[in-house]
Amino acid sequence: MATEDMWSVLEDCVKKINDNTAHPENFLSLQDGAAADFTTLTKLLYDLHKTEEPAEYKGSPLVQLVVENFDEEQIWQELELQNNAVMTHFENATNEALSDEKLSVLVEEEDDEENSVEAEGETHDDDDEEEEEEENDDDDDDDDEPPKQSKRMAQDEDGAEGYTDEDSDLDFDVDALEKREKQKKEIGRKGSRPKVVPSEVDDTFFKLSEMESFLDDMDKREGKEDENENELDYFQDLPSDDDDDLDLNDILSAKKKKKIIAKSSRNLKYKDFFDAVDREPGGDEDHSDGEEDNKDKSWQEGGEEIDEEADDYDGEEESDKHIWLMSKVTFNLNEDSEGEDLADIFGGKTPSSAISAVKSSFEKRQEKMSEKIEELEKTALADKPWQLSGEITSQSRPENSMLEEDVEFEQTGRMAPSITAETTLQLEDIIKQRIKDQAFDDVVRKEKPKEEVFDYKKKLALDHEKSKQSLAEIYEQEYLKQNQQKTEEEENSAHVEIQKLMDTLFLKLDALSNFHFTPKPPVPEVKVVSNLPSVTMEEVAPVSASDAMLLAPEEIKEKNKAGDILGDTEKTSTDKMRDRRHKKTVKRIKIKEKEKRQKLKEASGTGENRKLSKAEVAENLKKLTKGGKTKILKDEGKDKALRSSQAFFSELQDQVKSQIKSAKDPSSKKKKHKEVSVSKLKL
């Protein structure tokens, strides 16, 4: 391979890139020239790479990157083809590198050394790296890999550009591997690579971007700590706040990824709290003490769950191994050691010695057992999950967590029938059968029953035709009817009562159950009401009160069709005239009828010799005296005289005496008028 040629080509490319990206503010507007440059660069590199590709790579079938008249998407897809093809190869390579125990990372090495180590460990081709770098360049427009970008930019400051990309690439691969191995690892870990953006407020101790990233982290942590509020890691050394800052500082240095382990409080030093003042914020002394190595908080949550750590112990070991390869910090001690002793022990030991020795199978088993034990202890001591903690409201459990639960409860009501294919088939069968039988459940039209007014007196219907039945049959039917009535009356009264009760019961049941229930039409009942004052009907004790009769006044006396009955003073003249006319007509008719009868009688009678009835006699008398022409002689007090002869004669005697007196007496000539007359005496 003409590496020198390649090298020169690559240098040219790099230079071009630098030129184009020197002024990032240009990219705010559309830069066609730069885009074209980048496209040609990509093509160049791709072709270069392809020619240098070793046989076993099995890259994409495209020998050359076709860029004419292709837009970005298509170019990207071509690249992706190549990438996917060689991905497996890279994975294998990295696996080999990881599993290679012989590799070791020295803590005190500078970035360059790290990089060189890494370079040794890797089997990447420079071409590949740079190709990927080019690909990254192509993706200027999108932000798919911010960490890579950030790293790149951070390391651009340092000037070690080529290798920083390696870091970023490695990080990417390692991360992917980690993810695959540890499923429980949270993604947040990876993503919390801080960005260092220089701002005006920064000085040796304080960085604005640091603070912001720290705050973000804390926010995230708080969000997770809410779940594990009450959880105490009894076996964990309490980290101090300063440690966090210190850790962040370490992170931000970006040259080394420090793993920060919670130190025991006995062994803390200034270095642990504060950054070395004279150093660049970016650079950092090595924390050569293996014991004092701090764990990278970004890889581990602050108040970390013990179980997670326990679970991830193995995985973390692996990840720690990865991390060493990158940084000079040695190893990632687990905090959930079973006691302080263990921490001390681990702290005392050199990490490298502890891990570099190959563990025997017994030790491995023991480790696993202890893990399990720790896990069990953790769960036993920890708070119960919300599922087991009795009554719980929606505020106390995570959102939508009930959806993931399989809840068991008894249902007292009938469940709605579940519709399955079987039920549909059953239904269809039923439907078909019904159609065959023509047994439809049609709704029958309801007709309102005609209310037949109960005729209290049924009017006889007149039949004008000769009766079909003979007289004998008619009487026969009557006789039978009478007999039937007699037999009906002989029914058992108990039966009748039972029948009545059953009728009411069935009516109620029908009302409840029958879908097409129609209530019975109301039958007019005959009720005998006696017209007594209602008080007497209701109460036994006599109370002087209401005279309310049970019958309404209209029921006692029928209302006059004409309206109110008017008294004499209330009548108007028309009413009076009306009454008068009515009276006259009535009278007229009466008289006429009378006359008629009279005439008839006279006509049918024997003539004048007939005997007149008393009434007729009185009638005649009246007629005669009406005219005034005749006069009725009446007995006026003299009757008594006629009753006995003695009385009569004494009366006569008295009268004669008085006459004589009057005759004798000259003054009493007046009395001469009084005469005794025969007519008066009625002799």
């Binding site: 049924k458 009017k459 006889l460 039949d463 004008h464 035709e465 000769k466 009766s467 007289l471 009487y475």
Partner: protein, 248 residues
Amino acid sequence: PAMDTDKTTLPVAAADGPEDAGSFTTVKSKKSQKRKREAGGADMETEGPGAPKRPQFPAISSDKLRGPDEMRKVSVPAHRYTPLKENWLKIFTPIVENLQLQVRFNLKTRNVEIKTCKETQDIGSLTKASDFVKAFVLGFQVEDALALIRLDELFLESFDVTDVKPLKGDHLSRAIGRIAGKGGKTKFTIENVTKTRIVLAETKVHILGSFQNIKMARTAICNLILGSPPSKVYGNIRVVASRTAERF
């Protein structure tokens, strides 16, 4: 033809006993002599103290009770001759089978003769049978007249139109027309409402039915004769009929 009445042979009154070896002889007054039936047995009144042996007569069987067979005759006018012939079967069947009588039609005298016989259980059935035939002869249908046999309380009344009101000539005809009505409508109406049968034979009116119903029908017919319109008569009989119907 006179009706033969039952002749009962009267037994001689048993003599009261001068068999008494008594102190005094009783004077038999004529009053005390009663005509007694032999069938009654000896139910004698003795005025004397210590009735001696009474004659004991054994109970008589019903066969001996029966007297000679009785007979009724019903004459048939000429206009009923053919109907009689047509319905003869229907006439004699119930008489013979149900009433156990003997019946024949005497062609010479044109009489229906009914006679009792041995099988006759009830002596009153003879009257029934004769009434039945009489009703038929008057003009009633056989089925209607049959009711006379079946029911005891049915009667037959006849009266003349002129009895109600002396009418002559056209008035009479009109009266008869009023009774009959158009197509016999009025007559049928009265029949249906009052449950009677009416036969209108020129000026004679015959009514067959129970006593109350005959009265109702008679009132109605008399009203018609006297001149009231049929509608009025209908109203009246309807009222009366419903009242009587309610009572039962």
